[in-house]
């Protein structure tokens, strides 16, 4: 066994955690308050539950610390010999290709399983959001906790333009992206000087502000009631419905509601692949290299004459634009949007996807979106314990691979050979 912190330090960590749990839970669990029959405040204590929770935190901390010593922090990196590692990156390339081919075939294989198709669309939406946020967090190293704001801007842009002016999806899609990018720049300006935690807090606030504006600007957004009756997408002008000029009728095949689902599937797949293509391409352009350099060392960037302000703004705007595209897709798929869909939880989920996947890695983000969204569905049978099991799985993965599933950075340009760069060297930025 590796030498790690001794038993006293493990106990100390566990004790501190238990103390925090005690403070937090004493009010949340220890004392239960309710409005009584005549409106008075009644309360009673639940010390038994409180004690068991604190004990669970204490025990859990010890187990966690022990696990960290056995398999972490970079256990996997150290245990895997270099030959196997390079072999794995070789396989990695095939995994990406195989995954893409499989994804293309999903509607064929699961044509009759509506549930799987819906789930696949959901996963792809998060893959796209993850790829979009990856530009900001993974490449430029700016911790953005309010990404859902741009998703919302995109969704409402399409929803409102389509319902008020009857504009088609294909006109609104670029507009939604542009509007979201515009908001990205607006957000970018005030936060440029902030670093790390401060940046995270302000972006988080921005996400909430957008949601509150949507709730309160009733005349425009419908407030909490949302926007309904958002038109479904057409196949470049030909509706996908049961009518006489619907696509099914035109093709002379029998109409089925699945056609629309399959169309939506390929639509989001195309949008996600566009995001992926643009990101890969941008990484190899000076702007993308400047994003990564910014993540590595902002001071050095300035000494090289790079305008860090505009570089950060372009990262925000690009990420926001993809979020806006995804939002427009979300609106057309649901046909109904309301502020409830754009809570902080969404931002956190997308950020978790990026971090779990390995910041900056396109394949990693796709795999982790699959694991997170698909995995969450897998645990559905566990009902109440779903969140718990899911949370534990995430903690275990982050102990096993602290740098995310794919922990390598591929160079953007090379003379003789593209050597994968270990994530131990790559900085995380956040400022």
């Amino acid at each position: 066994m590796k030498a790690g912190p001794g038993i006293p330090s493990i106990l100390k960590t566990a004790f501190v955690n238990a103390l925090i749990a005690l403070v937090l839970f004493s009010l949340m669990v220890g004392i239960r308050t309710e409005a009584g029959a005549s409106g008075q405040l009644t309360y009673w204590t639940r010390f038994g539950e409180l004690v068991s929770l604190v004990a669970a935190v204490f025990g859990g901390s010890i187990v966690l610390e022990l696990l960290r010593q056995w398999i972490g922090p970079t256990g996997a990196e150290k245990l895997v010999p270099p030959a196997v590692k390079s072999g794995m990156s070789f396989i990695g390339r095939y995994v990406a290709a195989a995954l893409l081919i499989f994804t293309l075939l999903v509607p064929v294989i699961f044509y009759n399983q509506r549930y799987i198709l819906d789930l696949a669309i959901l996963v792809l939406t998060y893959v796209m959001l993850g790829w979009g946020l990856n530009v900001v967090v993974g490449l430029a190293g700016l911790l953005d906790l309010g990404y859902v704001a741009f998703y919302a801007v995109g969704a409402y842009s399409y929803g409102l333009l389509a319902t008020n002016f009857g504009w088609s999806f294909w006109v609104c899609l670029p507009l939604a992206g542009i509007l979201a990018a515009f908001w990205g720049v607006l957000l970018g300006f005030p936060v440029l000087r902030l670093r790390g935690d401060y940046l995270a807090i302000v972006t988080l606030a921005f996400g909430e502000i957008i949601r509150l504006v949507i709730i309160n600007w009733q005349e425009l957004t419908g407030g909490p009631n949302g926007v309904s009756g958002i038109p479904r997408p057409s196949f470049f002008g030909i509706p996908l419905d049961n009518s006489d000029d619907g696509l099914a009728a035109k093709l002379g095949i029998e109409y089925s509601p699945t056609h629309r689902i399959v169309f939506l599937f390929y639509l989001i797949l195309a949008l996600a692949l566009l995001t992926n293509w643009a990101t890969i391409r941008l990484r190899r352009l000076p702007i993308g290299r400047a994003w990564e350099a910014l993540r590595e060392d902002e001071v050095a960037c300035r000494a090289l004459g790079i305008n860090t302000t505009t570089t950060k703004l372009t990262a925000f705007a690009t990420g926001a634009m993809f979020g806006g595209f995804a939002g427009a897709f979300f609106a057309t798929r649901q046909g109904f949007i309301s502020p409830e869909s754009f809570t902080f939880q969404e931002s956190a989920l997308v950020l978790a996807i990026v971090v779990l996947g390995g910041m900056g890695s396109q394949l990693g983000v796709a795999l982790s979106a699959l694991a997170m969204i698909g995995g969450f569905e897998l645990f559905r049978s566990l009902e109440t314990y779903r969140m718990l099991v899911f949370g534990m799985a995430m903690v275990l993965i982050m102990i096993w691979r602290p740098r995310g599933l794919i922990g390598h950075r591929a160079p953007t340009v090379y003379l003789t050979k593209a050597n994968a760069i270990s994530s131990d060297l790559v900085k995380e930025g956040h400022g």
Partner: protein, 277 residues
């Protein structure tokens, strides 16, 4: 002091709250020459660099940079990235600041950001793979390759900079600064932590930068063998003020300089007297 000045610092002052780091400092650096800035630790040398390269806003004084064409730029009025971009002043850092997670080649490509940005039509031409951008990128790779060759790191072009040995990182940082094609190169203790052989190679590199490319160099250095060998002019600072300046020979024999070093650190004083003799 005669000749064509590329940089003239006039009554520069820098205060941090109550601390006076630099006071009433005036000196000039000649074009296509190596000017060294020496002095004991804490003398204020790095602070002067930070004022010249825009990382600090001077509390007082003027810093003028005059380009070959005759145009003069007031550096104290330009801020951060513009000094590198418009005034063409490049620098390295006392505690190396490479992009550790990027390869050596990528580091040198980032240094050519502004030229490549223009060539890529601010990304739009690059995104569609316009031939104009592809040519520019190829030229940028050639320039980077050339510099990797000069600093003897060509075989490590595709390795992450963070994996390099200390001396290699120092040389790569100089190459990166040179890839911005500067008029004035400011080096903050480039020989720190190098062994004798590496120091000698560094001296040669700096001389070739001066003689072959005609780049002016402003150098902060503790290694007196390097300073005495390659400097054309030396400015000595102590406690934020200039205490002497002149040719290496003049400075070496100046009693004030010896006293400053003796007062600060005996080893350094010994180094001053040994160096170059």
């Amino acid at each position: 002091m005669s000749g064509d000045k590329i940089l003239s610092v006039d009554r520069l002052a820098m205060r941090f709250g109550g601390i006076v780091a630099v006071q009433d400092l005036s000196f000039a650096a000649e074009r296509k020459k190596i000017t060294a800035l020496i002095g004991p630790n804490g003398a204020g040398k790095t602070t002067v660099f930070n004022c010249i390269t825009g990382f600090y806003k001077p509390s007082g004084g003027a810093i003028r940079l005059s380009h070959d064409g005759g145009s003069t730029i007031a550096l104290e009025r330009l801020n951060d990235f513009r000094i590198a971009k418009q005034a063409k002043v490049a620098r390295t850092f006392q505690n190396i600041r490479l992009f550790p997670g990027m390869t050596a080649l990528e580091n040198l490509m980032v240094a050519q950001h502004n030229a490549l940005m223009r060539a890529s039509g601010f990304t739009f031409l690059g995104l569609i793979g316009a031939p104009r951008y592809r040519d520019a990128e190829k030229r940028a790779i050639d320039l980077a390759t050339d510099w990797l060759k000069r600093v003897n790191l060509l075989d490590r072009a595709d390795d992450a900079a963070g994996n390099f040995a200390y001396g290699d990182q120092r040389r790569l940082e100089i190459a990166r600064a040179m890839c911005t094609e500067p008029a004035l190169l400011c080096l903050d203790e480039p020989a720190a932590g190098l062994n004798a052989r590496e120091s000698a190679a560094l001296s040669e590199l700096l001389l070739s930068i001066r003689d072959e490319l005609g780049t002016s160099i402003l150098l902060i250095e503790h290694d007196m063998s390097v300073v005495m060998e390659i400097s054309d002019h030396i400015v000595v600072m102590d406690h934020g003020v200039k205490i002497a300046e002149g040719t290496p020979r003049e400075v070496r024999d100046d009693p004030k300089v010896i006293a400053a070093y003796l007062g600060a650190d005996e080893e350094e004083a010994a180094a001053v007297m040994e160096g170059g003799s």
